[in-house]
Subunit: 390 residues, 2 copies
């Protein structure tokens, strides 16, 4: 198992900070938006005498609140279809464990969220990559190309929609294509929909829960981390209408006893009480940041990426030979008025060796003003790096 | 993976409650002792603007507090030797993953904490049981018997000390024996020491961290759940002085990003501030409950177990053919003045089929008064069951 490309440069960032350089973090999807006040109030009100184990599948209040949240989007799920997990991370791991045996294969589209590697490795599952390309905004490749990777060991196709690390939102037609493929080859469709409320430019998100005819084959993995700025709560959920899958997940859940108890009351409050305004403001905030990103990088020669459609990431081709060396150099050898910018090298998001070596992932999770500064520094660094290093 | 024997009867308990019967829970190690007030105050004081990801290895405050806690027992560990986990559960899973490849074997002594099965299954590890017996208080069998189970696939020996589900505390001599065996056969020694502060009758606990000559071979798994009545916090830790092990564990930790953030501030407060008085009172409380258990069951014909030396469990042989049937019957067919008692069938704590079928595990986590009532009901039920069912 490899070290996380999102975190592997952290020691160098820490060294830069220790030497007095400020670091703008565009490397990690850690939102800066305040956690809703109501979350904290709900925690304070829910502090029990004994902080006991909760149910392995999560507290009923939260499971019900999530079902209600989906019903507001016209998606009908029962609270029994929801299992609360310790972060979206655990939901992904449980989905692999529930659908695959050791040595089975799951198809996913590279670049993909690097931590899938860790969960696949833990579950003994081989991730089989199908490459999507920066040139068409990382949308799905041809059906033939996807099908060519299916073997008798393939158990599922995994997507992340909206996508981390690319910001791509799959179209209804692309989802229909996947639906046809999984039915034809008798597979599960696993969808990480953590960013489902982050679709820009008036677009809307189509969940795999809404695809007709494959109700028994879909598993959604979700989390409160990004949507509600509460990464540290470690609360996610897994949704399935397949009772066999749910039973398997519950057994895994029983092994680890329960997700964190107190935070679930906060999360239930959030799902029940946050207004449309909250979602609208959040969406507008990230969309503006995406626009800042487009503006600031528009004029840089040799940089290429299409406008991200959702989430809060972009995978960007740089005019450098080795983006990891560049990202490292930004921390160890460069500063601009005492500041520098940290990004994630994108090669770690690809499974195929050699791909993405000239790409970085940017998480646009800073205020517009900070984003502009961070990107100016990045551009300045890029210029110096190309002039003096490469 | 099997369903948890601790939780599998829960639907029947719920049905009994729905029908108006009160249920005394002696089936689950959920302490009734209030979570320390300072824990809640620390949470309130630590609520940040953004509930962000923390470090994958846990916050420095908590790692330092744990090192200090051990130093008070004369055990010298560095804060870098400590990795914070999402419950003791995750520490066990990480220990398996860090020491074993898929298909490797870990020796453990049955009956053992049933959830080890789940983690072993997830990690692709085969647990190889060595049977300990109720007749000698579940102390270790002969060295020859242990060594006879070691194969070329064996990577570690796992103990739980003080023991769940038996309440047994291993003697320094028994630990020395294990130390010799693991050195001779080049193995790791994994010790679940969640109950390390629960050793009765003036005895003291010897941690495997104190065994000389095997510093590189030991991994301790710990948790705040039982010691500080905070099972729902989902915070544990893994301690090792072996850098290779720590590196592997950190990579696993990075995959799941971080343990719950806020609860770590509460836990750090607990480790730093709880006084000797707190530990003394807690120990006295559980020791009294153990004494109540001994008194109440002393006069029951056909019941056999030796006095538990620590933790808050006892594994007890009953004069019935099938203890699971009896435990189920207590919930579905018996009540005494509107009340009944729930226990865990012990067969699920054994890996060898057919063992422990006439045994139950009792968790003595209720007040003395409730314990007496619950045990009186259990005795009454046992009498009726033997007269009318068996």
């Amino acid at each position: 198992m490899q070290a996380s490309p999102i975190r592997k440069l952290v020691p160098y960032a820490n060294a830069a900070k220790a030497a007095g350089t400020s670091v703008y973090h565009l490397n990690i999807g850690q939102p800066d938006i305040p956690t809703p006040e109501g979350y904290w109030n709900a925690l304070k009100k829910s502090m029990p005498e004994v902080l006991a184990y909760g149910p392995s599948q999560g507290i009923p209040e939260l499971r019900r609140a999530i079902a209600t949240y989906y019903s507001r989007s016209g998606i009908s799920i029962d609270e029994d279809d929801v299992i609360i997990t310790t972060g979206g991370s655990e939901a992904v791991y449980f989905a692999f464990m529930a659908t695959c045996d050791h040595g089975d294969e799951v198809i996913c589209f590279e670049p993909f969220y690097t931590n899938y590697n860790g969960f696949a490795s833990m579950a003994g599952v081989n991730l089989v990559p199908v490459t999507s390309s920066v040139e068409n905004g990382f949308h799905l490749p041809d059906t033939e190309e996807i099908e060519s990777k299916i073997t008798e060991k393939t158990k599922a196709i995994l997507i992340c929609n909206p996508n981390n690390p690319t910001g791509t939102v799959l179209s209804p037609e692309e989802l229909q294509t996947l639906s046809r493929i999984i039915q034809k080859h008798d597979l599960y469709l696993l969808s990480d929909e953590v960013y489902r409320d982050f679709v820009f430019d008036g677009g809307s998100h189509l969940s795999i829960l809404e695809l007709p005819g494959i109700e028994d084959r879909v598993i959604v993995m979700d989390s409160i981390s990004k949507r509600f700025s509460s990464c540290g709560a470690r609360l996610g959920n897994l949704i399935s209408r397949n009772k066999t899958v749910l039973d398997a997940v519950l057994k895994l859940g029983q092994a680890r006893l329960c997700p964190p108890t107190l935070a679930q009351y906060g999360a239930a409050w959030i799902y029940h009480h946050l207004s449309e305004d909250y979602y609208d403001n959040m969406l507008k905030t990230y969309q503006n940041r995406r626009n800042v990103l487009m503006e600031e990088l528009a004029d840089v020669e040799g940089i290429f990426f299409l406008k991200p459609e959702g989430a809060f990431y972009a995978t960007i081709k740089l005019p450098v030979k080795d983006a990891e060396k560049f990202a490292l150099w930004m921390l160890t050898d460069f500063q601009y008025n005492g500041e520098t910018t940290m990004v994630s090298p994108a090669a770690g998001f690809y499974a195929t060796p050699g791909l993405g070596v000239d790409q970085i992932r940017i998480a646009y999770v800073l205020s517009d003003e900070k984003m502009r500064k961070a990107l100016k520094i990045l551009k300045e660094g890029l210029k110096v790096y190309r002039d003096t290093v490469e």
